[in-house]
Amino acid sequence: MDVGLLLWWWMLPALLIVGGVVGVLAVVRRRRAERGKPVAHMDRLTALPRYRAAFARYRAWTALGLVVLIVGGVGTAFIAARPAAVNANQNDDYKRDILLCLDVSGSMVDVDAEILGVFQQIAQGLDGERIGMRIFDASSVMAFPLTSDYDYIVEQLGRYQRAFQGTLGPDEQFSYAAGTANGNGASLVGDGLASCALDFADTDDTDRPRSIILATDNMVNGQQIFSLEQAGQLAIDNDVRVYAINPFDWGGDPVSAQLQNVAETTGGAYFALDFADTVANIVERVNAIEAGYIETPPEVQIVDRPGPLLPILMVLVIGICLVAWRVRL
């Protein structure tokens, strides 16, 4: 989104006028000045055919020099006018914090694997964004904290994905469920979301947009410390938006409605995963919504863009010197 412009556009006409005046003055002065010694009978030389040939060569050289000089002068004036580009770009500052908050109760594992697959692809193209991951069932476990080490993220996401899918290699000793069962019940979504929201409580970078991708069916089974609404309030307190993905939305059931309500209260959104939608699409829509929360104003950058003019001018100056030397001005 570059807009070309001349920063000091007035330099262009000013220098061209000055150059023109200097040129005219030089010609006039040269005409007027009779420098050196007076000599008679110039026809001794000018009548020679070889003189006419030499003079024609001289004319050609000076014409060439003049053309180079004019082109160089216009180029110099153009550079003096500072050709610049105005750049109103904000993509470079799109640096979010994303926390994947995954319900790893038995019913959700397939959806989780799918989300991890999508995020592995996304993570490879990221720059500056931080991704963290927390899984929960009866209790929540930090899989990995917010980080921008994308190799590590991809590695961890892959490991969890394989674990969720049950395709772990023979030498991988890993159980994703370790530590998620220390509580009373299963799929304690309120506690899970609360611990995810509190992960942001300690980070100081308040100007980075924060979001939680919460994958759950909201089928709470047991006694949770935080209700889903309280957890939502924690998210609001920490400026976190919650994007909920629910694979089991039967349409109008109270748990789905509750999840949708909480997600939308935090400023996020709610997505029912059905046949019409894929996880990839949903993540894309989340990104689109998040883009609207970038709080840094579009930064207008003005960059001087002399382009290839400077080397060209250098060549022209060398050319002028060569021609001047050749015709011994």
Binding site: R30, A40, H41, M42, D43, R44, L45, A47
Partner: protein
């Protein structure tokens, strides 16, 4: 006030060797075919004198051959014809002003003539105006002549037109005279040949070319030049062209050769003077040559 003449005398004093005194002896040939019988004096024989002028009796008494001198052989009417156009204000081959060389030449020649008892007149002209100075034989007259030349010759003077001046001389001078033409490295034209032929029929004609400056730049210190005739400026690039330099040298050599040959075929003695140091030797050569050209 006789500054210009003083310069001429100084120059001659510097060159006061045998040749100059010989010149002062008036050792140039009579312009008259016939002889007056007003016997004047005797002098030593010099090569070129006619044998019948030898005074045999006096020679017999002396150890060297002596010739008789007659009044008529000493009374010459010298007419200096000089270009006072802008060309004469230009630079000579030596780098001096051609004007200085010309004035020096005319001054020495006229001074010799006056000392010899001759009378000097002058036609000094350019394309617009030709001034005639009637003949005179005094140093004051000579000084006046030289001063007039000095005043007239300048870079602001009208164009040179020696052809025109010569035609006026050919038209108006009836009395047989020694016509000394002071020109420069001009091109020899058919018109010039015609008017010189007409002059030569009636007068003795001597030709002096004041050498013009080199137009090429042969070394780094060569000065800038500009043409006095309002010519387009000569770019350095052209002046330093080696092949053009050779062509130029051939051209001017050819031009001088042509002038020399054409004048010689008319019976006009000619000499080229490139600098004021060359004036006296060149004049001596010129007079010597004049004595020897066909009579």
């Amino acid at each position: 006030m006789q500054r210009r003449l003083q310069k001429v005398k100084t120059k001659m004093a510097i060159h006061a060797h045998r040749r100059t005194f010989e010149l002062l002896d008036g050792n140039y040939q009579s312009i008259h075919h016939g002889r007056s019988h007003d016997f004047d004096d005797l002098r030593e024989y010099a090569p070129g004198d006619e044998v019948k002028d030898i005074d045999w009796k006096a020679t017999a008494r002396s150890t060297t051959p002596l010739v008789k001198r007659y009044i008529a052989s000493r009374q010459h009417n010298v007419i200096v014809v000089v270009d006072t156009g802008r060309n004469m204000a230009a630079t000579a081959e030596s780098g001096e002003s051609k004007e200085d060389v010309a004035i020096q030449t005319i001054g020495i020649l006229s001074y010799l003539a006056i000392k010899h008892g001759d009378r000097v007149a002058m036609y000094a002209g350019n394309a617009e105006h030709t001034g005639f100075t009637p003949e005179g034989g005094s140093e004051a007259h000579l000084e006046r002549m030289l001063r007039m030349l000095d005043d007239q010759i300048s870079l602001d003077a009208p164009d040179s037109d020696l052809q025109h001046v010569l035609e006026q001389v050919a038209k108006s001078v009836r009395r047989r005279s020694l016509v000394v033409i002071v020109a420069d490295d001009l091109a020899y034209t058919r018109e010039l040949d015609q008017v010189l032929g007409r002059l030569h029929v009636r007068h003795e004609v001597l030709w002096i070319s004041i050498g013009d400056a080199d137009l090429m730049a042969r070394d780094a210190k060569a000065p800038d030049i500009f043409g006095v005739a309002g010519d387009a400026p000569l770019p350095d690039y052209v002046r330093r062209d080696k092949r053009l330099m050779r062509a130029f040298d051939e051209g001017i050599a050819q031009r001088r050769r042509t002038l020399q040959q054409e004048l010689l075929s008319l019976g006009v003695a000619a000499e080229r003077i490139p600098s004021s140091d060359e004036v006296i030797p060149a004049l001596f050569r010129l007079l010597e040559r004049h004595r020897r050209v066909r009579r």
